[in-house]
Symmetry: C2
């Protein structure tokens, strides 16, 4: 049995506006109907795989369990990183956690935001690495290069790779310049480094003790002092804060001598920009790829994406353009500037635009909400509550609320009263009343909330009780 | 006194998505804070001008009066064209209407969707044409050409024009090819035809009797049988339907011998496409013009417009691109394709997308509404009711409604009950109940309506009473 270790902490800005700090890329269906995280977890499931061990940030913990559940997958352990410390501390924490039950357990470490269309081929490559991993090797999976890419690191092999076989690694090559990339892509013993590793927990720990011993104490303490919280394992923040922020490549892999490489040539992308999304989307003969209600008229080599049902995007006479539209933000860029999308995020941060980091749908442990309209003295929200879920028992200082149930059934508490509301029923929550909304039913409950008051910020909330242990 | 005759019937598609059939270009603030219609009416106001005579379609009648009121202008007569029959019948109707009170009345005929930044200079040009108009001439105002434009017709003068003087017209020149345009722009006796005319009502009628006598009977009957309706003058549909669909240029001007031209060189645009809007918006040194929350990063010769407060538009590395974003539709096009925006409208019509013709804000005599969310069995709307206005007394077969007042005061009728609701008060309208919403106050009333039911179309309405005489 192999335990997938899914690294799920990133918050890239290169796929803004669809990927935002509050809801990053791996949780979004960028290619196909599943999110990248769901596809990654599914890819590493089946008879040879244990439930995944997921490393993520606190903000994303409920998204992780919800998306695994939606994909019909068993959630394994979810380790919460108190803050992002790069890949080395995260992978060591996973190894330490696994080693407490089985030091020989094999772990397949994988980012959760890549695209691998042929999952079976990928599992076959993993299987081919198992004997070497069992023999104490760290096996990495190198992607057969298709072009002289300068955005990836490379793996130099001691001999040309053979499908289904592990070949010893000679060295890691940092992201090259174009000339070097050109030489490597023509040689027969270089592969792309995709950050995929297979080894036993004890092999990883031994390598760490040798190559980055300073990480062992803080990460070890973060794991042993971790607190269980509603099924999540919260690494100890104080100990975690002492761990160096460092990548596994730099801390371990570039120094370890026991590395081998299994080649993988069946298709892979890290979706590192909208240009990569465009390529993976399967452009037509003129190079046009559209998603959602988008229409291309006389366009070439262009990506047009609409991310909402009621949002029509039309391109006319475009060449090498990517346009991504959401109801609250639109990006239009030359395709060659895909790596500069972070400039858009920075510009919006500078002007304090919430679209820089906040997703229009705000995901919470109990479901999600979105603001339909926000004015000076009123706000209208759509609130969707999962079956069995409950919002906290709360009150507000500055606003009253009208709730109208439009789908499903709500159990509503207002001070001493508790009542059930069905579709088309409403209730009024006066300013200051202690109230709670729950979905006792078997289907999602949808409610329209109309707030009025002088201050409508999310921080006007006093929580009395919360089944998700929020403060 | 000169009566402005404002032609306000167009429904251009070249400025989609901001201009749509349901709310065309002249009613939109395309350049500056005023709408083109408001700016046109203001330009032709002051001591020398009578209140305007507006020719418009039935759908736009309340928008016309509302926009005149908002601009602080007296509404003159509003003649409703039962259907669009081009400019000749519309101008003849205006002349016949004016002639009933004063055959010598001067009329200044003007489209209401052009931009003329220097209104005082334009009024001075009009004043310069008055003596000729009083002497029985039809005076047109020719725009000094700035380039060899092929999209406009030209006016050939008998001599080079002089500012402040009317020069006899030799002939109208149809939209030329590029070579002809080049010759004309270099000559000193050609001006652009902007469709602006000054003459007395009797001069126009005399010219029509001579050059298009077939129009006199149907247009005459449409005016004499017109019905007054809430202050609007509805031309008789049957008579109007018999009038030939023809432009004033073709029906009268190209044949009349009594034409003179006053030149106008102080700036004019017909805003015939987004490229014209870009030019009028005053692009910066790199050619970038932005409107609303739009950010250009390393762009050249690019128009970026966001038409909503909460909609951030970002362009990166664009050249010769126009991007116009609304919450329900986004256009991205190469600047050279400005005249092909109609293809976007056609493509959306083909796929039955409502964005082809319908504006997200639905303007009604009493105010406006917009759909905030539309689902299978519920819909949420924001409804804004003008002070003193009232919706019809109505009922629905398939939906119940919850109303929550969030600004101002509503008077609500539900069957036998009539009550006042203030901010933060709500009322429930059961399915089948006869109900009405009014704003008895002095400020706009804003209400959130939550509908639930099996059918939510606007046509599920039975009207019992309507102060706007709708059926």
């Amino acid at each position: 049995m192999i335990t997938p270790v899914l690294l799920c902490g990133g918050s890239g800005t290169r796929l803004w506006p669809l990927s935002r700090k509050s809801y990053p890329k791996q949780f979004v269906p960028l290619v196909g109907d599943e999110t990248l995280f769901q596809a990654s977890a599914k890819r590493l499931s089946g008879p040879d795989y244990a439930p995944p061990l997921v490393l993520t940030a606190s903000d994303f913990r409920f998204i992780v369990t919800e998306q695994l559940q939606d994909a019909g997958l068993d959630p394994g352990a979810v380790l919460i990183e108190p803050e992002g410390r790069n890949t080395a501390p995260a992978i060591l924490a996973a190894a330490l956690h696994l080693a407490t039950t089985d030091p020989a357990a094999l772990m397949l470490i994988a980012p959760s935001d890549h695209v691998v269309p042929d999952a079976a081929a990928f599992r076959a490559a993993v299987a081919a690495g198992v004997p070497a991993a069992q023999a104490g090797q760290i096996v990495t999976f190198g992607i057969t290069p298709t072009h002289a890419e300068t955005a990836y690191g490379y793996l130099e092999l001691s001999a040309p790779p053979k499908d289904g076989h592990a070949t010893p690694l000679t060295r890691f090559v940092e992201k090259p310049d174009a000339a070097t990339a050109n030489v490597m892509v023509k040689a027969d013993n270089f592969l792309w480094n995709a950050g995929l590793f297979l080894c036993s927990a004890q092999t990883m720990l031994k390598a760490a003790r040798t190559h980055c011993p300073d990480l062992m104490e803080p990460v070890g303490a973060a794991v042993t002092q971790a607190k269980t919280d509603l099924g999540f394992l919260r690494l100890d923040p104080a100990a975690w804060g002492r761990a160096r922020d460092v990548s596994i490549d730099y801390a371990v892999m570039e120094q370890a001598k026991n590395l081998s490489v299994v080649p993988f040539g069946a298709g892979w992308s890290d979706l590192g920009g909208w240009d990569a999304v465009w390529r993976e989307a399967g452009p037509d003969a003129r190079g046009v790829a559209t998603t959602g209600p988008a229409t291309a008229i006389d366009c070439d080599d262009t990506l047009l994406r609409s991310e909402a049902d009621g949002l029509e995007v039309v391109g006319i006479g475009l060449k090498n353009i990517m346009a991504v539209a959401m109801p609250d933000a639109v990006l239009v860029a030359d395709m060659s500037r895909a790596q500069d999308v972070k400039l858009a995020v920075a510009a919006l941060k500078d002007k304090n635009a919430k679209q820089a980091t906040a997703f229009p749908k705000d995901h919470r442990p109990w479901g999600w909400f979105e603001t339909l309209v926000l004015a000076d003295r009123f706000q209208v929200k759509r609130i969707v509550v999962h079956p069995g879920a409950a919002l906290s028992l709360q009150s507000h200082h500055h606003r009253s609320e009208h709730w109208i149930v439009v789908e499903g059934t709500a159990r509503v508490t207002v001070d001493e009263d508790v009542k059930l509301l069905g579709e088309n029923q409403s209730v009024y929550i006066p300013l200051g009343a202690v109230h709670r909304m729950e979905n006792p039913g078997k289907v999602p409950m949808v409610l329209i909330e109309v707030q009025t008051g002088s201050y409508l910020g999310e921080d006007d909330i006093i929580r009395y009780e919360d089944i998700y242990a929020r403060e």
